[in-house]
């Protein structure tokens, strides 16, 4: 692939490398695919009527990966990308996605990524999504991911959603419908600074008997940034649901958390925990007694919190 330094940096941040990975992949740069590969078990096909991919994972596929990172380095580019994952039964796959924007101009660059996962019976997916922005331009770096997960009987999905740094505005939507004995596990890490805004919402329907969901969101709001977290878990059957919003607020930032639990049956066990606060003074003091400066202590606490 012929990539600029900024594009290489984006792929390193969101995908771990800019080299061709093993397995199925699609590398997207400035609205176009610059490399695509299918394997015996995983087909990566471009959509014909709109921008995006259909990714088909065959039944019983085990241990394979799909890489679909996106880089935007053209200022003013605005795109909506629809990627649908059709996972067969009894499969186990890891999907590494993510998007980075390098903006060196004055116009906003926007990526709206809509990912839908249809996960077959007893299949397991691990989905890793990192978002990142950088560049000297005054134009915004805007990333709006929508993640929809539909889990059939006995299926499970582990989602790792991370916004590393530099994204000026984000509206993140995660929607899930969880079937019988299916399991959803979400780990979200979010950091905002300057005057960035971030909205993260979850709508999880625990429809199946013995379905479970666990959403753990940790965020740090620095400077004048604003965050809004909304999580609704609906218990429509005998199920267990848990969501936790844990935020560190710094400087002049603000964090607003709106949890909601909606139990439609007495057999639904739903829990929400929310904690918003500044970095505890005793944590800083403890690390200072071990030789860290106050700044180093804060950095260690933040990095640990977002790990």
């Amino acid at each position: 692939m012929n990539l600029s330094e900024a594009e290489k940096q984006i792929f390193c941040e969101v995908s771990g490398d800019f080299q061709i990975p093993e397995g199925a992949y699609n590398f997207r740069v400035n609205g176009k695919s610059v490399g695509r590969h299918s394997t015996k078990n995983i087909d990566v096909e471009p959509k014909t009527k709109k921008s995006g991919l259909d990714i088909y994972v065959k039944n019983d596929t085990k241990g394979e990966q799909v890489h679909i990172p996106v880089a935007i380095s053209a200022t003013g580019l605005k795109e909506a990308v629809y990627n649908d994952f059709h996972i067969g039964d009894n499969a186990e796959v890891t999907i590494i996605a993510g998007c980075g924007i390098y903006n060196c101009g004055g116009q906003d660059s926007v990526h709206n990524g809509i990912h839908r996962f249809y996960v077959g019976k007893n299949s397991k997916i691990k989905y890793i999504e990192k978002h990142y922005g950088f560049g000297p331009g005054s134009g915004g770096k805007i990333l709006n991911p929508t993640t929809e997960v539909y889990l059939e009987k006995g299926a499970s999905a582990e989602l790792f959603l991370e916004q590393i740094k530099g994204v000026d505005s984000t509206v993140r939507k995660t929607i899930a419908e969880v079937g019988d004995s299916a399991k959803l596990l979400v780990t979200e890490r979010l950091m905002t600074h300057s005057r960035q805004t971030a909205e993260s919402s979850y709508e999880v329907a625990l429809n199946g008997k013995d379905s479970t969901a666990d959403i753990a969101s940790r965020s740090i709001a620095q400077d004048y940034s604003k965050q809004l977290f909304k999580a609704t878990i609906a218990g429509n059957n005998k199920c267990r649901g848990h969501s936790a919003c844990d935020a560190i607020i710094m400087d002049e930032a603000s964090v607003h958390a709106i949890p909601a639990l909606d139990a439609k049956t007495k057999d639904a066990e739903l829990i929400h925990e929310a904690a918003i606060g500044k970095i505890a003074g005793d944590q800083i003091t403890k690390l200072m007694t071990l030789g860290a400066t106050k700044k180093e202590a804060e950095s260690k606490i933040i990095n640990g919190f977002l790990r």
């Binding site: 940790r218 844990d246 505890a280 005793d282 944590q283 003091t285 403890k286 690390l287 200072m288 007694t289 071990l290 030789g291 860290a292 400066t293 106050k294 260690k300 606490i301 990095n303 640990g304 919190f305 977002l306 790990r307």
Partner: protein, 231 residues
């Protein structure tokens, strides 16, 4: 040598001023094991925190190895060889035991080396090294991790604020071994404690009462009176 000269500490309380430490002066000899004891509210923990720099005295001076450290922040005191073990171990979110030991070391140490410190406090590295130092750990586990982090400092002066609080018998027995080891290595140790077994092994006991030094001397001299409640 640690020397405190005329240390006082006042706090505002409901419009009036309350004197927590009242003109304390003392000298702690290098390589000695000193226990500071006294009733609750006598000012013991405040004194320990003032030595570490966590609290700033209202008046007075602190000298460490001949240097006036009264205005030095906590980090600088730590770098000059003073370590502090908290009465209530601090809990984090996301920071692992390994992170804590790396911070204490000042550099990235091997997992094997970090694991050796955990073994010293009776914790299995396989089970604990990568665990978060959070509220899922029991009080005893947190205390052992706290002590391991302080041991990693290998400091010339270590202050333990009520180390016996919240620990199990195993940890208590090992604490006394740790204190004896520090003494053998010519490290200075100050322990805030009520515990008779710790008082017994002290070189010197300092008894605080109402923010003042009520008495100081050897365990042979003071322990009988302390046990009887006369001090």
């Amino acid at each position: 040598m640690l020397e405190l000269k005329d240390i006082s500490y006042e706090v505002k309380s409901g419009g009036s001023r309350q004197l927590i430490l009242d003109h304390i002066s003392l000298r702690i000899k290098p390589g000695s094991f000193t226990v500071i004891t006294g009733q609750n509210g006598s000012g013991k923990s405040t004194l320990a925190e003032i030595i570490m720099g966590i609290k700033t005295p209202t008046s007075g001076q602190i000298f460490w190895q001949g240097e006036d450290i009264t205005k030095l922040p906590v980090t600088d005191r730590a770098k000059k060889g003073i370590a502090f073990s908290f009465q209530e171990p601090v809990k984090f979110k996301g920071i692992t035991v390994y992170d804590l030991l790396n911070t204490a070391s000042g550099e990235l140490i091997s997992k094997k080396e970090a694991g050796d410190y955990l073994k010293t406090v009776g914790l299995s590295p396989e089970d604990y090294l990568l665990r978060e130092v959070n509220s899922k750990l029991s009080g005893g586990e947190l205390k052992r991790i706290e002590i391991a982090s302080v041991l990693k400092r290998n400091a010339d002066l270590t202050i333990f604020d009520e180390p016996e609080a919240g620990i199990d018998l195993w940890s208590f027995d090992n604490l006394t071994k740790i204190f004896k080891m520090a003494k053998k290595n010519a490290h200075t140790t100050i322990v805030i404690s009520h515990q008779e077994r710790i008082l017994k092994i002290a070189d010197e006991i300092i008894v605080l009462s109402h923010g003042k030094i009520a008495s100081c001397g050897t365990p042979e001299k003071l322990l009988p009176q302390i046990v009887k409640g006369e001090l």
